[in-house]
Point group: C2
Chain length 306, copies 2
């Protein structure tokens, strides 16, 4: 606990983050005098050999693979990532993708004539629909309020199946296969691991069905792309809205580019220019917590790797 903690901001003196440190009750100091470091750059420029006085480091990204690979993160102090800080922005993109699919916006956006009967498959509505969120971590949970406000029922899948607020049901990961049949639409938001590779294949796509939309805002590897192309061609899946693809970037001429019921946004669910505000909010909150001796948000657990 430190009433007015000494915080080093690097590598640059970003105005928004300097303000956030001050709003959180901190004062900006040189690295040698710092109790805490707020780092807004990459792993490659991170200072070697932090002073022992540094008890906490705030990293700027939600994923910390590059920091682990670089060996930056040690066990002698607390490290926090920005995990969760960007959840709302990514969740909004997922809801936007699902609505664009369900409401026939993909076909309309491509039309250059007034063709009410030819702009795609019949529209549906989320009102009364069941939406599965596969991987209801911070991002997945952040989708629930908007989906339920639109009248959808949410079924969540999490690692252990502990209840997700606002969901009518939460299943553990080992029962994920059940939700593809049960849901009208499926949003993939799970981390990319060896267990989630090609989690959504031909059987899962067929189970979602000819009126259903698949949304992927996680990683391309979670969906079997060849199976997806086939399901769309055969009409066993209604449509797909993807912010991530496999391979990524999706190559020119790939059949998904011209499929009628496919929407691809080029990995822009969390665009850099929208991250500044979210990181500043997190920095302010964590500096305030640090000053008050409270638990910090986004503490890294090296044994879990995030």
């Amino acid at each position: 606990m430190s009433d007015n903690p000494a915080v080093h901001l690097g590598p640059d003196q970003r105005e928004d983050l300097a303000d956030a440190v001050r709003r959180g009750g901190g004062r900006l100091v040189e690295l040698a005098d710092a109790e805490a470091v707020v780092w807004a750059g990459g792993a490659s420029t991170f200072p070697d050999g932090l002073p022992e006085s540094v008890r906490w480091v705030q990293l700027p990204s939600a994923g910390i693979e590059s920091w682990i690979e670089a060996g930056t993160i040690d066990e002698s102090r607390t490290w926090t990532s920005a995990v969760g800080a960007y959840s709302d922005v990514v969740a909004e993109h997922a809801v936007a993708l699902l609505l664009a699919g369900v409401r026939g916006i993909v076909g309309s956006a491509r039309a250059t004539r007034w063709l009410p009967d030819e702009v795609g498959p019949p529209q549906s509505t989320l009102k009364g629909a069941t939406v599965a969120i596969v991987g209801a971590g911070g991002i997945g949970r952040a989708m629930v309020p908007a989906l339920t406000a639109l009248g959808a029922e949410v079924v969540a899948v999490t690692r252990r199946g502990l209840p997700v607020e606002g969901a009518v049901d939460t299943l553990p990961a080992d029962r994920v296969s059940e939700v593809f049949d049960r849901a009208d639409h499926v949003i993939v938001a799970a981390p990319a691991t060896s267990e989630t590779k090609a989690l959504v294949g031909a059987d899962e796509l067929a189970a979602i069905g000819a009126r259903g939309w698949l949304v992927n805002i996680a990683r391309g590897s979670l969906v079997d792309t060849d199976a997806l192309v086939e399901a769309l061609q055969d009409g066993t899946l209604g449509g797909a809205a993807l912010d991530v693809t496999d391979p990524e970037p999706l190559p020119d001429g790939h059949p998904l580019w011209t499929a009628p019921n496919v929407l691809i946004t080029p990995h822009v669910a969390n665009p850099a220019h929208l991250q500044g505000g979210a990181l500043a909010d997190r920095v302010e909150d964590n500096v305030r917590r640090f000053a008050a001796g409270e638990d910090l948000e986004g503490v890294v657990d090296l044994s879990r790797g995030y």
Copy 2:
């Protein structure tokens, strides 16, 4: 009040509506024996000279202009329209249009290559944005929960400015000009009247601004189309997502069809195939209310014309 009201269903014996009448506590009878009529057809086929025993007629549409013109609606009994029954479906479309604009989905839907930096204007987010709903009647009000769940602040405009639940502020219609400056994005949901004709012109579009989106799910006449084309060309408005246009249908070759930041859905916010369920819900509810002697939903006031 009538415990088990005698309801005539016409012109066809639609199964979903027959079930709704029964679920509401009614029994189906011939017209001559009816206390109430549920009419699922147009004005032209409506029976001439209803029996005096008919105390209530449920019409299938939200707007009743055609019934007023046909002289069907008399003062000797209660008439109800389906006003409000379809609000959620239309409101969902408005939210879908706004998100498609804000999240860069219009450009992405048209892209046939992975072009993260070229798919349109910089994305923004509804989180922390101010969204004005101009005309917060049943449809406008139905948008508020989803918009606030996404973190937007809603400013509403209604005829008299009485508070709208969930909005941070509600202005009366004679102060509508204030909201275009105040809001980041504007959704037009007001009825088409002589007072709302070209309500959104060059000044209002410039006030919404270069990052803002205009959404119109009301009637095309509320927006000055020529001023809109000009504002988009000059970049004084960020983009427009329109379910209705003026003229409508928008003619082939119109500049809006090929403007980069314009999304046009061809008046499909309330598609016929999604109306059945909503009408059945309204019929069930109103039959139950009729049986219980309660106020009916959507009572027509001939003096107001709706």
